[in-house]
């Protein structure tokens, strides 16, 4: 049966991975929904408001970005602009090489995944250690994150214990406390020895130049406080206009991402160590990364740039739950990834043009999105774009002939009668691939084409006859 790539991926996914993904996403989604409903009278209004704020941001980047550069510089940070992934990597490398740095500790940043930073730095002789526990496990396993908030949602603790053992982090023990303690012991030494620390930013406030980083493990705090140099890698869409907008966004982010009222650590960073401050990095760099975002802004799916990377859309998505994040062949999986990845692919759009099709368009993603992105509409726009660009669509019945049929009532009515043949031909013998795909797991109801129309006609006839008799 010819089906779409993501459908085929689903068939090869080991059941225990599917179960891990399903259990993890379902639990977080349900907790999130309960928490929002319990804490706020009208959570939907908050999502709409946040969506309006972010829409304002992306439509005013031309004034907000210079503003934030000015504030950051005034606070002592150095600002760099990277048009693409290569430029972003070069900035990071240049900063590190100038300082003679060879050891980098890294908190979680999706942009670093997007620009494939770690392999690049390793190739230049710089050790690049992931300090987020999930990312660390992905790193030692030579795996890829399968969720933007929970990179190892596809793994269970037995797999993790096995890879710890394999990597010399102690004999097999799958107790979460033991795993965590071992990772901590390993990382503490690394923080102290590191020459530079890297973080992302969940928000950067234009008004104050304040960077906000939220985590639950405290690894961002270690990564940016212990080493002498802090590098923040930030997508240009991460801005918020005012400090007071943080109240709304921090409330929504933690609840949407991890079903917490507030994450365990929330860092507000205004610059490197100032005179008189006891500690902190002596140098701070903020690299703003475009990497295709302004092209997205210029196109018809710009609302996707509102995204604050909470992962709520993947947690609720019935397709993501069945296939895991790896099915999307992208840094950003799930509904947001199905929109963002083809767009960020630029010239390679066609390679990712199947992703927007991996959705029943159920709209659950839009319903949970803290910035109210109309994801189904964007998926539809990208399907249209894909069709116009000549993207392949395995398994799809041809729509041209169907449209011809559906715009000619005479032919349509004839087909309603002719369809009765379906009742007599076994689905396997009908030379339509879509029929095989349907019939593999489902029966087709008995054909009753034209019966309703006949009922209407007979009733009409009866009415006329009764009318005539009365007359």
């Amino acid at each position: 049966m010819k089906t779409q790539p993501i459908d085929q991926f689903a068939c090869t996914l080991p059941p225990e991975k599917r179960q891990s993904v399903y259990n993890g996403t379902k639990a977080t989604h349900e907790k999130r929904t309960k928490l929002l409903a319990g804490d706020f009278a009208d959570p939907d209004r908050l999502r709409q408001l946040a969506g309006e704020v972010k829409q304002h941001v992306i439509e005013n980047l031309d004034t907000l970005l210079p503003q934030v550069e000015e504030r950051l510089t005034a606070g002592g940070a150095q600002v760099h602009w990277a048009a693409d992934a290569a430029a972003a990597r070069r900035h990071v490398l240049a900063i590190l090489q100038r300082r003679g740095a060879t050891r980098l500790v890294k908190a979680k940043t999706m942009v670093s995944e997007e620009i494939e930073l770690a392999p690049f730095l390793e190739a230049h002789g710089i050790e690049c250690l992931e300090t987020d526990l999930g990312e660390f496990i992905v790193q030692i396993d030579h795996d890829h994150p399968s969720h933007i908030v929970r990179p190892i949602i596809h793994k269970n603790r037995r797999e993790i214990a096995t890879s710890f053992e394999k990597n010399g982090l102690g004999a097999y023990n799958d107790a979460p406390e033991v795993i965590t303690r071992r990772a901590r012991e390993f990382m503490r030494k690394k923080y102290l020895a590191a020459d530079a620390g890297m973080t992302g930013a969940n928000f950067v406030v234009a008004e104050s130049g304040r960077l906000v980083v939220v985590t639950n493990e405290g690894n961002s705090r270690f990564s940016l406080a212990a080493p002498k140099c802090h590098i923040a890698l930030v997508g240009i869409e991460k801005l918020l206009p005012r400090d007071r907008d943080l109240a709304l966004f921090l409330n929504l982010l933690a609840r949407s991402a991890t079903a917490q009222q507030l994450t365990v650590y929330t860092e507000f960073i205004r610059g490197p160590r100032a005179a008189g401050q006891p500690d902190g990095p002596e140098e701070m760099h903020v690299i703003f990364v475009d990497n295709g975002r302004t092209d997205v802004l210029a196109g018809e799916c710009r609302e996707i740039l509102r995204c604050i990377r909470c992962g709520a859309c993947m947690n609720v998505c019935p397709v993501y739950r069945q296939v895991s994040g790896h099915a999307y062949r992208s840094v950003y999986p799930g509904p947001v990834g199905a929109v963002l990845s083809p767009l960020l692919a630029g010239e390679d759009f066609l390679e990712k043009a199947d992703l927007p099709k991996a959705s029943s368009l159920c709209g659950a993603c839009n319903e949970v999105c803290p910035v109210n992105i109309p994801i189904p509409d964007l998926l539809l726009r990208l399907r249209d774009k894909g069709k116009r660009a000549g993207a392949a669509s395995p398994g799809l019945p041809p729509m041209g002939p169907w449209a011809l049929l559906a715009s000619q009532p005479v032919v349509w009515k004839a087909a309603l009668i002719g369809g009765r043949l379906l009742d007599y031909i076994p689905p396997g013998l009908i030379p339509v691939p879509a029929m095989h795909a349907w019939a593999a797991s489902r029966t087709l109801p008995k054909w009753r084409g034209g019966v309703f129309r006949k009922w209407l006609r007979q009733r009409e006839k009866r009415k006329t006859e009764t009318g005539e008799r009365k007359a």
């Binding site: 049966m1 089906t3 779409q4 993501i6 459908d7 085929q8 689903a10 068939c11 609720v316 019935p318 397709v319 069945q322 099709k357 991996a358 959705s359 029943s360 368009l361 159920c362 709209g363 659950a364 839009n366 319903e367 109309p374 509409d377 539809l380 726009r381 399907r383 249209d384 774009k385 894909g386 069709k387 398994g395 799809l396 019945p397 729509m399 449209a403 559906a406 715009s407 009532p409 349509w412 309603l416 369809g419 691939p433 879509a434 795909a437 349907w438 593999a440 797991s441 489902r442 029966t443 109801p445 008995k446 054909w447 009753r448 084409g449 034209g450 019966v451 309703f452 129309r453 009922w455």
Partner: protein
């Protein structure tokens, strides 16, 4: 879902968009829709030339083909009358999807005109006509599947309100009710394995609630779920919400012969 502001229905006449699935498979759901509307004293006009709403091509990304069908729809339903559709999916195609597909087209105003008067059946009854309780009798525990196209609309609440008001009906709760059944139109044949897995999960939750009837506002979801159940050899009894309303009238002796 961003939708267009709807015009309140005036007068006693409506147009029926029966949907292609009722045309081909579910004639009784369409008949029930006519009977329900007539019970409320409305005259139902059925434009003979109608075919389909254009959604299959729209969802498949073939917007050119979809616009061709929508243009046929515009010609067929040209009037000022409310258009009632026994499907949240086809209705949403008209008042939401078509607006997207015609964003840059010259005939967008005509699409908007149709969108402003197109209603899903339950939404029309409750929010268009102000009917909030339904007479007659229908005995049974009903599991009501809220089709995804009711998100952001008032259809699901409307259908639940009507059914809850019928003497004899109990609506049973079931797990993960907000999750899609896996149909998704062409998704069901281009992603058949994922579609099947989603459907099985839905059936599992539905069966755990032990309803006598699976009821929905869309025959498409019902076709997928009942098709899966039948293939398993464990068929489920399913009804379109119009059939429940009509049967309630019938059981209460309220249906004119």
């Amino acid at each position: 879902m961003t939708t267009i502001e709807r015009k309140p229905p005036l007068g006693k006449k409506v147009q029926l968009m029966a949907t292609c699935l009722c045309d081909a498979f579910y004639d009784d759901a369409a008949i029930a829709t006519v009977q329900v509307l007539e019970h409320l004293g409305l005259t139902v006009e059925f434009p003979e030339a109608q075919t389909c709403c254009g959604q299959p091509a729209f969802n498949a990304g073939d917007w050119n083909a979809s616009r061709r069908v929508v243009r046929h729809l515009l010609r067929t339903f040209k009037s000022e009358l409310p258009v009632v559709v026994p499907s949240s999916s086809c209705a949403a195609m008209v008042f939401h999807g078509a607006l997207l597909a015609f964003e840059h087209e010259r005939d967008l105003p005509e699409v908007e005109q149709l969108a402003r008067r197109t209603w899903e059946l339950a939404d029309f009854l409750v929010n268009g006509l102000g009917v909030t309780s339904w007479p007659g009798r229908f005995d049974g525990a009903i599991a009501f599947h809220r089709s995804c196209h009711t998100r952001g609309t008032r259809s699901a609440e409307a259908a639940a309100t009507l059914m809850r008001s019928i003497p004899g009906v109990t609506l049973v709760e079931f797990g993960e009710a907000e999750q899609c059944c896996g149909f998704g139109g062409t998704f069901s044949v281009t992603f058949p394995h994922i579609s099947e897995a989603m459907g099985r999960l839905k059936l599992q939750h539905l069966r755990a609630a032990q309803p006598q009837f699976l009821v929905g506002v869309d025959t498409s979801c019902l076709m997928h779920l009942s098709g899966l159940a039948e293939k398993e050899g464990r068929p489920v009894q399913h009804r379109h919400v119009a059939q429940v309303l009509r049967d309630a009238l019938k059981n209460g002796g309220l249906l004119a012969a």
